[in-house]
Symmetry: C2
């Protein structure tokens, strides 16, 4: 069986709004001695996708509501930042320990609705924060279309982010957007070695790909915001990362 290989893409420049990620990734692949092949999966950090899409909010332009000021005082946060978190959220799942765990309008339950303050240069007076891409599955699909056309192949694209988890320390890479891969693999009806029906029916394949890539992408200090996964094969149908979001009605934890 062929191994799966994970390649970090070194040398990607700091991304600015309007930058063309497909071209930048193409150049990075070339610089790292890699030519895209069918079935390759590119994993991109949420941060560079959001930056390319110009998803900045200047905190100087934000007027915090009474609710945001109240939460900010409770949590020791900037009320403008809290206001942005509230504006991006449908529901606050848990508040405490300097964090707001919120259900983002996209459905993702995550710390501070995924709104990052790190690695953002400070503007005049106030600084800015970076929102999630408006439609991460759409961003992944658009990037896949560009890469497929430019390189004459069919690839997968995953946009990953780092999520904390209940009950466990540390963050792991998670897929917030995907195209061309089976994000969730359904095993309903599969039987185990003794012929009983498997209890575990779905595998979060895109999250496992996102975590695998995170091993190389590291964190900000290394500035390695993209990786290539080669050799992963699945016969499961393609599904976007939205399939990983548990329906609120089936969720025991909110």
């Amino acid at each position: 069986m062929q191994p799966v290989s994970l390649h970090a893409l070194a040398g990607i420049p700091l991304i600015e709004p309007g930058d063309d990620l497909a071209t930048i990734i193409g150049a990075a692949l070339r610089d790292n001695g890699l030519a895209l092949a069918d079935g390759d999966i590119l994993v991109l950090a949420q941060k560079i996708v959001s930056k390319a899409e110009g998803r900045y909010v200047n905190l100087d332009d934000v007027t915090p509501s009474a609710r945001a000021r109240e939460l900010a005082a409770e949590l020791g946060k900037d009320p403008r930042h809290v206001e942005v978190v509230l504006g991006e959220s449908d529901e606050l799942v848990k508040v405490g320990q300097h964090v707001i765990v919120a259900a983002h309008k996209l459905g993702l339950v995550m710390a501070n609705a995924g709104i990052d303050e790190s690695n953002i240069s400070h503007g005049e007076g106030g600084g800015r924060v970076l929102l999630l891409p408006r439609d991460p599955d759409g961003s992944a699909a658009a990037l896949k279309a560009r890469l497929d056309a430019a390189h004459g192949v069919s690839v997968g694209v995953v946009i990953n982010d780092s999520f904390g988890r209940p009950w466990r320390n540390g963050v792991v890479g998670v897929a917030i957007g995907a195209a061309g891969i089976p994000s969730l693999v359904d095993r309903v009806g599969a039987v185990d070695l003794f012929g009983r029906e498997l209890k575990v029916t779905e595998i979060a394949t895109a999250d496992e790909l996102a975590s695998a890539a995170s091993l190389l992408m590291g964190q900000a200090a290394e500035a390695m915001p993209a990786a290539l996964i080669r050799g992963f094969r699945s016969t499961a149908p393609e599904r976007p990362a939205a399939a990983l979001i548990r329906d609120r009605k089936r969720d025991m934890f909110r």
Copy 2:
């Protein structure tokens, strides 16, 4: 930068109590054309470690308590299975939807305290279930010592399992035991590209390794209960998988 490679170990036989996993893994490596090298990380499914350790409970030997009978009726489960789950647990975190989310005595919060019914052959009358290894970090350390001595190298060992998560569909590979790797990488004090302190301070590296390996290990039908990860480098200090368990007092979610 060298890629990281993931190799499935095909051909591992069904494991029985008392089997010597170090020898069996050694044979599988040889059969798959792999020679262990320094820094290699072996990922083993919890199931084969538990089986080798003979962690079976015969359900015929289990007398369910009133509490187990009550929960079993509520959840549509075998009261003897529920009794075993209760016996392995310190705390029930959530009950519903045919599942008991419990804090295992080891600290791991997981569905049914990690007690698996699938892939277990049926004994006379009642069948049996498989408990987690008694000390997964200890099992990993013992296996590492055997492999290091037999192959003249220093390797890492991860014991993984599949966990569901709040808010997200599908299971992912998670580390329940580890040796010779930095399970949790502490980034306190690390600064981002613009010199601000990073908010995200810890990375659950062992869980990311466990997920990466799960991509290859698949599920029962493929019977691929071990994988090799080659080329992953970290300068962080070694820490066992127990470091991934969030202290109850710091846990917002129980």
